[in-house]
Structures are given as C-alpha cells and as structure tokens.
Point group: C2
Chain length 299, copies 2
C-alpha cells in the first residue's frame, strides 16, 4: 500500500477515494477536505471569530486542530453534562488539549451553572436523554457565541454522523428536519451561524487524524446513547458502505446538492420573540431550555 | 395469539399493524389493504379492463387472486424470459393457476417470438441482466395492453420491493427515478396506466396469502438476480424493520405522501415520437427494446 501522493509507505487507505496515504499526506488530505468544505459552503468569512463545540472526543478535537492549521481564529467551548465518569474524563481531554496548545477554552457546567445534569433532565422529561442533551447544547452554544461575539459556532459532526441523521430523517420523511439538515445554517436574529466543517471526513478518518497528530481523546462513546436509533442507522450504513464504498458520501452530498432545496419550503417559519425568562429567541413565551430547567426543578 | 377481529386462534401476526389474524380475517385484511390502495390512488375505474403481469411467483398470483376477489375484469400476461429451469417452472405455475380458475392468460416467449433470452441479452449488453429484463417486460406489457385494449397494467410489486427500490433511489438521490416512483402512473400517449396494488402488503404477507388460499407458486428467486444491490437493500430494511416494526411502511408511504411531489419537477419530459422499427412510443428514433434486439442479433 503506497501513498497516492508520494508513493512512500501508506499508513491508511480511504476506500471511497480509492486512495492510500502516508502520515503527512493523510493530514494534508484531511486539511484539504475541511478547507474545501468551508469554502464550498461559505462557512467562515475572513477575520471572523469561530467558536468550536468541544466534547473531548476525536471529532471536536480534530476539528479544533484542523481549523488552527487553516489559521482560523478559534476558541473552544466545553459543556459539562454531568454524565458521571464519562463527563469527568471528557472534560480532562478537552482541557489538556487547550492547555498544551495555549488555546482559550470556555467552560459551562450544567450542574454548577444551571442546577441540573443530563441524567436528571432525562428522568424529569421521561424521554431519551439525547433530546435534553441536544437542546441544552444548542441553547448554550448559541448563547455563548452571541454574548461573546463569535460569528459562527462549528461542531464536529462527521460524515457518519450526518449520514445517519439523514437516514433517520428520510426513513420517516421528516420534511421539517430535512429542510434544516445542511452543512451550514445562516445566522438569523439572535442566533449565530452554525457549520459542520467535517462532513467530508468519516469517523475512521478523524480517529486516524488524532492518532497521527498525537491528540489524546476520550475513546468511549457516551454511555447514555447506547441502544438509540442513531447507532442502528450507523450500523446499517456501515454495511452498505462495506458492500459499496462511497455510499455514505454519495448519500449525504447528493442530498445537499440535489434534494435539500426541494425541502426548503417545509422549514417552519416561526416568528421569534424573546424568552420571558432568559431573553433567548424563541417561538413561544418561554424557551425550551428554560422549560427544561423548570421541569427538572419541579421533580 | 388471537385474531384481532374474531378472537379465534390466529395463524399469522403482522407486527407493524400490531395485529394477528385467523385465516379468514387475514384474507379479508389483505383484500381490504388492496381495495384501499386501489381506491386511494384511483388505480382502476369502474368497468375498466385490467392486465396483470404474471411471473408465477407469490406476488403476481396473489394479486390476480385478490383482484378477482374484488370483482375486477382481469386477464394475465406471462412472459417467457428464457432463464433455464426457472422460466420453465414459473411458466407452469402461471398456466396452472389460470387453467384451474378458467382465467385468460396471454403468453409471450422472448426466444420464440423475439429471438433472444435474458441471459443472451445480458451477455450482449455486458450489463447486469435485470436491466435488459426490466426493459423487455415494460415494453411488452405496454404493447400487449395497448394492442388488446386493456386500460391498466398492474404488477405485483409489494411493500418490500418498493421500499428497497426507494432506498436505492434515495441513497443515490436519483431525482428522476424518485419523480416516477409512485403506486400509479397515469396513461399517456401510447402507454397504458400502470399500478402497483400490493404496496401495502409485505412479501411475508403475500406468501402467507398464497399458502392460506392454496395457490402454488414458484418459491425460488430468479437465479440471475443473485448478488444484486436490491437484495442488499432488502436485507438492510429487514434489519431496520426488526428493530422498529413499521419502518418500511412509514418510509414508503411517507415518501408518497410528503416527499414525492417535491421531486415532480425532476421528471424528464421527453417529447415522444414513434419507433421507426416497431411503432412504440420512444424519445429517440429507435426504441430501447428494438435497440436491445439489434445488439443481441449482432452478437
């Protein structure tokens, strides 16, 4: 197995590109994929300030590293979710990455700052924990970005993540979610722009990137996600990818190019007002984040 | 396990309906599903003449039986594909079904009437055989329907078939195919209406229907289809259905209801002329069926 670029010994093959790479050319390949994604979807403009949502996992740390390599002005935000040892450990990886590179990492701790943890929120709502978790993350990433003057929030969603979400949305034809599933969502009143610069990299590639760069990350998956549908969709897509390399990329990028515009009219156009409790933009009187906090407090 | 309708002993459960049925109420359930599908999509009007494409398998024979039960005026068309023992045997089942019920079965034999078999066509085109087979079927079903005054051609595509085709079209976002994937396609100049009345029945149900009614059918799958992508998509959908019963039906019917109209504009609107060789409607000078015959002859 030889590097496609220099013909030296390769350390990884990427079947859907029908290519193998040595260490340095693999890192260059990943960087180029991210550069191209940012450029194609106009994710980050010149001089803009970027906030990366950092979980301590391979994707978010690789993303932070890649954006630095591309010379963007990027700070991190780590959210302590209160998921026992998993959260303690993931926080240590995020902090260590920032410390070793002298980068700025904002931190919010759900328990200390807002009086609840994700397991408590799941118990209070009697719904799968991923719902309360996603809601909390979105709210707080947006809030920190707006308050501290970041132009764009970037997240480490990779090709596998996005293809699995797309499959779930397509299997149920969730037209409103399909209307919003895009690598970049423009800013609108009260919300920053949001972007996913890793949609051209598979999770195997972000893991290899971290190993080759020497980034330590939390390897365990979130223990609360076990058995959720998303993992079933990933398994199914892995099987299809094995039978036909390139399936996931064709599925996701084909959607963005040829199908996504057809669902634009399904986007709900709620008029936004200001949450009476926290001041965040919301379609109701009280935003979903504040309603979640009330429910947990009422337990 | 008790019948949902009469509480007698059940012979089959249908997990996506969360129901079990005795023999008689299962047959009534299947009949009602087909009646409702025909009505919802206006597949067959009062007094119209129906041509059912009969392969000798469970789906097409169940469909012929069900349409008779619903008192439609239905004749059959069997196409001899020249696929060795498989074709010999499937022809026997089709003829025996028609003979035992005194039904009219038209027959065309590709080798005797058109000078080629599907294996020969596949060799000549150097493409998977399913392409030449589908092309030959569509052409000849249309031709017989138009020449003999049938209003609509119906085929035995079931829920599993249609969901697998849909998954393939969605994974590659084949917008033109998505624009045409519908339980009914209206007649247009030179083409009869085409309909799929079994889209609400899974293949396990059409098989059970045949067994319970006492219809003998060819159990083997076509030997030429082995290893094609369609079977991989069926396997993946079976796994998702196992994890979450109702997945296939929600996927297919959700597409028809909420997504299909969004792809209508992707349908190619070729202006049709008359094939210089056979007179069939075609977008070119010579239709694809006549071009296929020429290629086989040139071998």
């Amino acid at each position: 197995m030889k590097c496609r670029v220099c013909r030296g010994p390769a350390v990884i093959d990427v079947r859907r590109h029908n290519a193998a790479f040595c260490r340095d050319h693999f890192l260059a390949h990943c960087t180029e994929q991210v550069r191209r994604t940012i450029s194609e979807h106009k994710m980050i403009g010149p001089g803009e300030r970027v906030l990366v949502a950092v979980s301590g996992g391979k994707d978010s740390l690789a993303l932070w590293d890649l954006l630095q390599r591309l010379e963007y002005d990027v700070d991190g935000l780590y959210l302590g979710l209160g998921i026992g040892d998993y959260s303690d450990e993931s926080g240590r990886y995020a902090r260590e990455f920032a410390r070793s590179r002298n980068l700025k990492l904002h931190e919010i701790d759900l328990a200390a700052d807002f009086g609840y943890t994700i397991p408590e929120a799941a118990a209070a709502t009697r719904r799968p924990p991923c719902g309360a978790c996603g809601l909390s993350k979105r709210h707080l990433f947006d809030q920190v970005a707006m308050e501290r003057g970041y132009d764009v929030v970037v997240t480490g969603h990779n090709l596998d993540d996005e293809a699995a979400v797309l499959l779930g949305n397509v299997l149920r034809w969730e037209t409103e979610y399909l209307a919003r599933q895009h690598p970049v969502l423009p800013a609108r009143s009260g919300f920053p722009r949001k972007a996913k610069p890793l949609v051209r990299l598979a999770e195997r590639e972000t893991a290899a990137y971290c190993v080759l760069v020497g980034i330590d990350y939390i390897v365990e998956e979130c223990p609360m996600a076990e058995g959720n549908r998303h993992l079933g969709y990933k398994a199914v897509l892995n099987e299809l990818e094995r039978q036909s390399p390139g399936t996931k990329a064709a599925f996701l990028h084909g959607f963005v190019d040829r199908a996504s515009p057809r669902f634009a009219s399904a986007a709900s156009e709620h008029s936004l007002q200001t949450c009476a409790s926290c001041g965040a933009p919301t379609s109701g009187e009280i935003c979903a984040f504040c309603r979640l906090q009330s429910r947990v407090r009422a337990q």
